[in-house]
Symmetry: D2
Subunit: 384 residues, 4 copies
Amino acid sequence: MAPKQKICLAYSGGLDTSCILKYLLEAQYTVVCFLANVGQEEDWEAVREKAIKIGAEKLIVRDLRKEFIEELCFRAVQCNAQYEGRYLLGTSLARPVIARAQVQVAKEEGCEIWREPEFFGRFQGRNDLLDYAEKMGIPVTSTKAKPYSMDDNIAHCSYESGQLEDVSRPPPDGMWTRTDDPLTAPNTPQEITVRFEKGLPVKVSSEGKEWTDSLDLFSALNAIGKKHGIGRIDIVENRFIGIKSRGCYDSPAMTILRWAHLDLEGLVLDGRVRSLRDQFVTHTWTEILYNGLYFSPEREFVENSLLFSQQRVNGEVKIRLYKGNCDIMGRSSETEKLYDESESSMDVLNFDPVDTTGFIHINAIRLKKYGLAKLEEGNDLAKA
Amino acid sequence: MAPKQKICLAYSGGLDTSCILKYLLEAQYTVVCFLANVGQEEDWEAVREKAIKIGAEKLIVRDLRKEFIEELCFRAVQCNAQYEGRYLLGTSLARPVIARAQVQVAKEEGCEIWREPEFFGRFQGRNDLLDYAEKMGIPVTSTKAKPYSMDDNIAHCSYESGQLEDVSRPPPDGMWTRTDDPLTAPNTPQEITVRFEKGLPVKVSSEGKEWTDSLDLFSALNAIGKKHGIGRIDIVENRFIGIKSRGCYDSPAMTILRWAHLDLEGLVLDGRVRSLRDQFVTHTWTEILYNGLYFSPEREFVENSLLFSQQRVNGEVKIRLYKGNCDIMGRSSETEKLYDESESSMDVLNFDPVDTTGFIHINAIRLKKYGLAKLEEGNDLAKA
Amino acid sequence: MAPKQKICLAYSGGLDTSCILKYLLEAQYTVVCFLANVGQEEDWEAVREKAIKIGAEKLIVRDLRKEFIEELCFRAVQCNAQYEGRYLLGTSLARPVIARAQVQVAKEEGCEIWREPEFFGRFQGRNDLLDYAEKMGIPVTSTKAKPYSMDDNIAHCSYESGQLEDVSRPPPDGMWTRTDDPLTAPNTPQEITVRFEKGLPVKVSSEGKEWTDSLDLFSALNAIGKKHGIGRIDIVENRFIGIKSRGCYDSPAMTILRWAHLDLEGLVLDGRVRSLRDQFVTHTWTEILYNGLYFSPEREFVENSLLFSQQRVNGEVKIRLYKGNCDIMGRSSETEKLYDESESSMDVLNFDPVDTTGFIHINAIRLKKYGLAKLEEGNDLAKA
Amino acid sequence: MAPKQKICLAYSGGLDTSCILKYLLEAQYTVVCFLANVGQEEDWEAVREKAIKIGAEKLIVRDLRKEFIEELCFRAVQCNAQYEGRYLLGTSLARPVIARAQVQVAKEEGCEIWREPEFFGRFQGRNDLLDYAEKMGIPVTSTKAKPYSMDDNIAHCSYESGQLEDVSRPPPDGMWTRTDDPLTAPNTPQEITVRFEKGLPVKVSSEGKEWTDSLDLFSALNAIGKKHGIGRIDIVENRFIGIKSRGCYDSPAMTILRWAHLDLEGLVLDGRVRSLRDQFVTHTWTEILYNGLYFSPEREFVENSLLFSQQRVNGEVKIRLYKGNCDIMGRSSETEKLYDESESSMDVLNFDPVDTTGFIHINAIRLKKYGLAKLEEGNDLAKA
């Protein structure tokens, strides 16, 4: 093992990392704490004070919100990413920017990154940590009775374990922090318009206001979505390591952006490209991110393809928010012309019906032969 | 061409098929009309009278609702089928059962199926049809001013063309027929429970009532879902023939069942099987159905795989319906044990953290090498 | 229909296009003939004379060999493209460059492209064409007794129909034109070395000679491969329109290049990227090309991904040719370092076996649970 | 850790397992050795004597050749499995039957399976093992100078590491054991016929002899293929754990069977089913097996799909073997009718060319619109 020196510890101020900090100090390390600002609710000064009080050399905070939104969250929007049909990846998206920043900080401070086998055997779960914290005089806010764990960033808040492990029951009242209850949300809907360029959100407007900066528009969508109860998810999901776990997530901005983007693609993206992108890029990118493989050649490979697909995703989408609903009120694009109003009309014929007959006949060559083969075997396709 | 004799015409009572019927009679065919009951809103007697009045030999109605639900709609539920992320395939699902029944009827009645090239040149759109109908004294209910076309069955109602061709605007007030407006839906949520066996809905219960027959439970879900405004979709979609068109659909029962099934799979389906099923079976089955290729070897191939995946999809899901929202309130399975409450707990360690270190190290062998190669080229992964 | 004026006819000098040329002239069109040089065996002057003699205004020949090789054949090599596991796409690759050039020529000459429905009814197969040719005094080289049809370009020669329709028998003696018989090929093997940059062949060397120009190296590989009987394929394949047909193809250069490229990728391409590329890009690009959809957004989408994957495919491969065999004799790369000699050694341990235990344990969490579920149902995995 | 008692050790008689056996005995375990007969070249009695001499309680040998061939090798043939385009999986296919049998033996003998962390630290590679063997008096056949390692079974022999780690050079002379050198193989080709039912080889015949038993026909193909130098592969492949390694394999029977099966599928399998099977089932099954995940739900899921695809793979294929070449000489099926000789003829038109025009026109709707969009942007598709 390398000589014990200066270590860069990702520090949240919570039970786990406070115990780790103390444990490292006891083991004679010098510890620089690192705290990423990815938009979580946090009393930054309180965390700093706690770190210093326990004995850290310093706490370095980095504001990663814009790179988190622009490089990760917006990429997920371009991808329509949804893990297992629902989860919008909030936690998975934050990790790469946090990890990258921690490596930078460690380099700048002359530290090592840290992952310590001995620590694993030292603490066998939350109760051991609580006992250690009590013994060492580490102030804790969570207690043994805490009903579930939370993790938040600007993309979402996640709720896991504790009470939530009983998957047959809904989350407890008052759990959700990023969304108001749809049952008590305003009776009046609110319309917003989202504009995309190359699949990236570049403007949000609603009720006379307008946001164009990435952080501003994302924050505005979070605030508006919160009010209307948009984006609650309760899912039993499959973890990379092969276990199932239940996660609850509320992610207003991501929900609205994903839905708007999905709709715009219907208008502007070629059908075959979309189908290939959905099946290969969206599915694969989502799993890569969920499994923590952001810094991999396969992520770069798939993301290159994603970006190529977004070249024509230009236009805007109107959305109505109302008590948990996110409904499309119209979409348009000044530059993309794949949708042709006259063409989809039934009042005027836009192609020769003889062509459709030919199309059907040629497509049927194979199917007829197959149907005949089945018939010869006694399987009449005309029987239920 | 074959001698002109007896023809089996799929007849709806609407403008198109009434004109075709008249046209065929003028061309000296004997015509047997066929009308499939797939749960559409219909005045069956009025259609019969109209057909007879125009000159059909008879109108044969077949009630296909149960086979439609059990063989097609439930298959789509097992598949979590959603075309281009949203459309639940209501029209596509009905066509195979209609086509199959029409072939049966044609056989029984000694008729030919019919598709006539000359007819294509005769009528160049809706207005030509209206002129012909007027000239021939065919009573029409739709007029030149009709704002959009509709097609319904027990799975949904679809709305297309006309006013809807302007995709930048929401559907007109009062268009939706299968769902009440979420804005005026009841203020009190309603809970329902759906039980699945091998991925098939076998029982629905709500507020002390219970439905087990497939047609009953599907109808009950439609009624309950309608009341709570569940299942409206407005989408610009890509047609098989390569044009984009806008479709609006309301499909309450399908929406609820798909959502419940998706959730249950989270609890009971192995993660890798699910991922493979999602990427290959769900995507492919959905496209096959949308493209009208039900009677194909590829549909049989993919469906075989779908059914295999459903063997363990047993359990029930509680759902709360409220003003357009369809929220999971819990899920459970007496027989499937892949989810393990203790295992996902953070209070007790269920596997050796040293194992996770090994897992991470081995997964990192490839990534480290890649990161080093990038670094040598001057691309430091630790830079944003 | 547009006024009958000047038409650009793709003219080969063969039976079909000579009859079409005559037929068009009789229908009062002015005809400019176009002949693409994609490397086929051809007496160019004889074709020109025949066209002029029948009555064409002129014959325009374009040498497309380099763009054919560089833009299409090399792309297929980068892709390791093989339709249905065997066919190297020779004909499919040539069509896009021919079509593109014909459109250019038609524009330059003020012509229309041409495809005439009436012609379809006029001739019902080869015998009708032969009768017409005889009547019109068109000289024909093929006769009613011709045993199969051929189509060649620099990538391959294809042989189809006629005698070959009996798929239970091997091709007739003496059919192959691009490859000598492996049974009588030299008894002495020949080694060649192929160097790739970004997946593109940039140098071929053998027996003291060296070729770097794309056309030169491709031609050299054809000549060397011919001598050693490399690249014969006999396959029953599935056509886009849904029928099966038998094709025989000999394509020496393409066979050697594909094999060399495939091998080099083993050395330099990341495993996950390769797996994704194989499953999605290679499979899809190959089908797109085979189905004639080169000028499509999906081809551009997939090809963008292909090119990205080739950035690190740099190095060289030694191959030994011998009586139909194409065997790898070694590969190397000066720039790519993913393969590490020491790492794959069994004499020294390069990673901690405890890590592999952890890797195995974590991967087994899911499998154990599954095995237990099966056991409870009475299916012991330890039984055959 | 569980009490040290009776252990079932997979024992090969080689250096590694002999040292492990001794090491276990020294650690006071009782050891039952297990040796699977999967068709490897082996002096069974010598292995037994060595095990007993070192101190094993007994050596249990199980003949697994038929289940290996029928359940694993033939499944790979049905799948046309080839890892990374070349490797026929010989080693990967053997492991599941060996593991299953070892578990059975361990149960029968009241043993535990065994994998010991302490052992990892004890020996740091081959040289440590050799030193230990010498010290303990364990007779070894391999020496420090051994140029590569080998592992064989009835499917193949694999050669790895040592000299082979230099991937720029061909394997050493005389390395291959399962195939004679193509350069000195007979000058006279040999024809064989393979008959398949549901994709499974059921009969092989050649030169008046015939084999129908699975083990017999597989052994016959190995013998015939050996003589003609069929099935050598030299590949740099990507391991599950993320490293690249070079493997050489010779597998005559597997090569011939795969090639014959691939060809027959061209004749009898629907094109769309084949494409889906190739992309999803073949690719996925191959990776699952290579990665050692045979006893997994995903293998069962994918294999179910594979078996469904094979229902119509009935017929026979003639193959000519000659100096490393495996050439198709014809194929036929009495029961499957998808190939239609008349249909693929060019002498008679079998479908209306007007239909193909319609097919082309409809397929072009989307492409035209795309081409126009590109043109408007200044990208003329008619330019190279």
